[in-house]
Amino acid sequence: MIALMLALLLAPVPDFTERVKEVIAHNAQPAALETAGYATIAAKLWRKEDPDWCSRRLVEILREGPRGDMFWMFPVTAIAYLDKGQLSGAARRTLRDSWRTYMPFRGDTENHWLLYYTSMYLMAQKWPGEGGELWFNGKSSAENFKEAEEWILWWVDTTTRRGQGEYDCTHYIGVYVLPMSYLAAWAEDDTMRKRATMMLEYLLADYAAEQLDGIYVGSHARTDDQQVVEKWNGISSDLGWLLFGLGMHTPSYGSYPFYYAVASAYEPPEILKRIATERPDGVLHKELKRTRHRWRFHKEQNGEVYKTTYLRSDYAVGSDQGGLLQPVQQHSWDVTWKVKDPRGVHNTLFTMHPYSGLLELQAYFTFAPDPATEVVYRSKKSYDSPDKLLGGSPYEQIMQDRDTVIALYDIAPGARFPHINGFFSKDLSVVVEDESGWIFARGGDAWIAYYPLAPYSWKPIAGGGRRLFSPHLKNGVVLQVAAASEFATLEAFRDAIRKLPLEVQLQPAPAVRFRSLRGADLHFRYGQERDFSSWKLFDGPFLQAERNSGNLELRHGSQRRLLDFRTLTVEEK
């Protein structure tokens, strides 16, 4: 068994074309064909096999009644474009009629809308010149096409000038890559195809610069209860494997990478592959992003998010500035260490304040006050739990300098959960509570020093690991990470950290003075004014873009690739 696992781990990664075929083949051969769904139909149509079964099964599924809103629209759109004369007339008519008889909900997030409008764009393109009586929304093909195109253009423009709204998501990255793959493959308009291809590069460059062997690191607009601790276990890892041959894919390869594969299967350019796979030890990368739409309580509908990620060969540290930047599933900071096989491994450490409340839910959603928390809880089970490890807080502020993080908490009296949670993984090989107040730990080949600002206790976590529980309103943590190669022993690391000047105060507001292992004198006080006016859209050795620029320059070594969305040009140097 061990030999087999070793063989699998050491087996050469197939090239891009083979990986694409592997993903599609997996979906074309389900365990039970009689209950197979849209993905199997799409896979078989792509492979040009079993057209009779595809037609029969498509009619069966559609007659059972469409469901899933925009999540129904995108597989059906793929089937319509992969048909290429293979489906029967009856199947094609049934598919067409379903866009008259079923009204998908457009949803309430940008990922919903991108799926919805990309599907509308392509289906209106496929069935041009038809009247509103043939569409569920009563609009003609021309009207639907125009509306979809306008919104897609708005989204591209806003994203390339102000940053992505649902940024850097371990799962939802797939929901953004997929529509761009569709448009890159199937839009008849040359400029839309070009724009979508450039956006694919844009989104993938964003990911390539912030991953550790395929694992999306640092802060995320959205992740989930499992992926926040087992960071590998998401669509981003499937994409890392499919596009760059990095790390490991999940057992199902992910539905969005599959539809990416059957659409454009766009192979990233060489420079993007190099950004993803050839990186020096010690890369500082900064980004500007947007909050999700805020309907209430804020002057700006989309606030700014300032992200910092520092990547070394063996670990990465990433953060945003703190605050309620996204609803429910925000993840603000962590350290992630590299592991050979990430499956089942919780290779991360972080702290957060478990906030839940109407300030968040009514800002980002249209919920009525009373059932809001209960409605969220139905699909996000941890939302109203004091033990949760997922979500942003209005009482958290974060600063980062390379591999040092200072996270401060000033929790309002009366807050629903007046404590902070620190995630200490089952996969830390060492955890030592030092008399100095520092907690020293080792994850993979990373040394981690964690200084809690207030007293704490330990609570077990279901599934392994421990939760640092600190029930103090004025709170915080100083985190310093280093590579195992820098310190031969725990003692050497401990001695180095203990020598670093550290001053902490909690009243009237938490504040820290700390000289980091890298020699930086860091002063951070909760509530202090911070000037982010010079923060760029992308700022790192691999990606550069100014605010409002509408472009992105990819850099690697002497290579340059400029994506200019204002002129829809790609310039290679």
Binding site: F105, R106, F136, N137, E150, W295, D370
Partner: protein, 328 residues
């Protein structure tokens, strides 16, 4: 002369002996975006045939109104936009584009056919051509999210809006708004009395019930009813001048028989005290409908003193409204 015709139509709807109950339903227990959704959308109660669904299944229809020039045309405030539902609600067209989402309320002008307003997540819009075109109509509202909207039935051009930061009044058909009360308070509902056109009530989030006796120009607390509760709906009984019902979260159904001077909780028989919507039947004295959160629609024949289940088990109804029979 046309406006007289519209006024007569409006009056007939208010008199409403031939009115039909419409329900904006969400059959939503356990529903999230992308899940199968059965039985949600716009429904109409036909005395003989029972409930009939009109148009598509849709998870988010929060309110409806009918065009005073063509009562067979309904306007629906929906998640996907403003839906114009012709032929009594059967044939839908989404009249708005990507600029607006998750509409909160809709109100048709009582005097001008084809003039309609809706509130959405980022303001208020107006159409003067039956929804063919829309313009922003929220100048003067500082924080744009508005949950409730109602056109004055007695004075042309007057509209009241319940917004995230108070109650706003426009006296020029949405051209300009000014806050007239409830600053700092989220307002969930504004409703005009069918008997005394200068009297309005507003339901709020955590600030109870507010009353205006001067057409919405000034507001005051309407006693101690539903204080520190969230008021979701207000219903005036069109057949009983001083009867008002109020419902909200944990309030049950509160009924006043003296125009709001005193209130009695009338919730016996209701499975829970969380109320989304209320409506008195204009054609049946004493009949009151209440939408109970994720339980069912309930009906009382004695103005709330006793209740029985009236269908839609497991659902809740955002809004119960009576529209003229002509809408059929």
């Amino acid at each position: 002369m046309r406006w007289i015709l519209w006024l007569m139509l409006a009056a007939s709807a208010a008199g409403q002996s031939n009115a039909r109950l419409h329900a904006c339903v969400v059959n939503a227990k356990e529903w999230v975006v992308g899940a199968r959704l059965a039985g949600s959308g716009l429904f109409r109660l036909d005395g003989v045939a029972g409930w009939e669904q009109l148009g598509f299944v849709h998870p988010m229809i929060l309110a409806a109104d009918y065009d005073r020039g063509d009562p067979a045309t309904l306007y629906l405030a929906a998640g996907n936009g403003l839906i114009r539902a012709r032929d009594g609600g059967r044939h839908w067209r989404v009249t708005t584009g990507w600029e607006v989402t998750e509409l909160r309320d809709v109100t048709a002008d009582r005097f001008l056919a084809g003039t309609v307003y809706f509130a959405h997540t980022a303001g208020i819009r107006k159409s003067s051509d039956g929804g063919e075109t829309w313009v922003d109509a929220d100048a003067g509202i500082d924080q744009k999210y508005c949950e409730s909207l109602q056109a004055d039935r007695a004075q042309q051009g007057r509209i009241l809006a319940g917004c995230v930061n108070g109650i706003f009044l426009s006296e020029d058909g949405g051209g300009r708004w000014r806050r007239t009360g409830a600053e700092g308070v989220q307002v969930r509902r504004v409703v005009q009395s069918p008997h005394r056109p200068m009297e309005w009530l507003a339901g709020t989030q955590m600030a109870g019930l507010l009353r205006s006796r001067d057409g919405g120009r000034t507001w005051e607390a309407a006693g101690d009813v539903a204080v520190e509760r969230n008021v979701y709906d207000i219903a005036f009984d069109p057949g009983q001048e001083d009867r008002i019902a109020v419902g909200g979260w944990s309030t049950g159904v509160l009924v006043s028989e003296d125009n709001g001077k005193s209130w009695e909780r009338r919730s016996k028989g209701l499975p829970r005290w969380d109320i989304w919507s209320l409506a008195f039947d204009p054609g049946k004295p004493g009949r009151l409908y209440a939408s109970v959160h994720e339980e069912a629609l309930h009906v009382s024949e004695d103005a709330g003193k006793s209740w029985r289940n009236a269908g839609f088990d497991g659902s809740y109804i955002y809004r119960l409204q009576f529209f003229p029979e002509a809408a059929k």
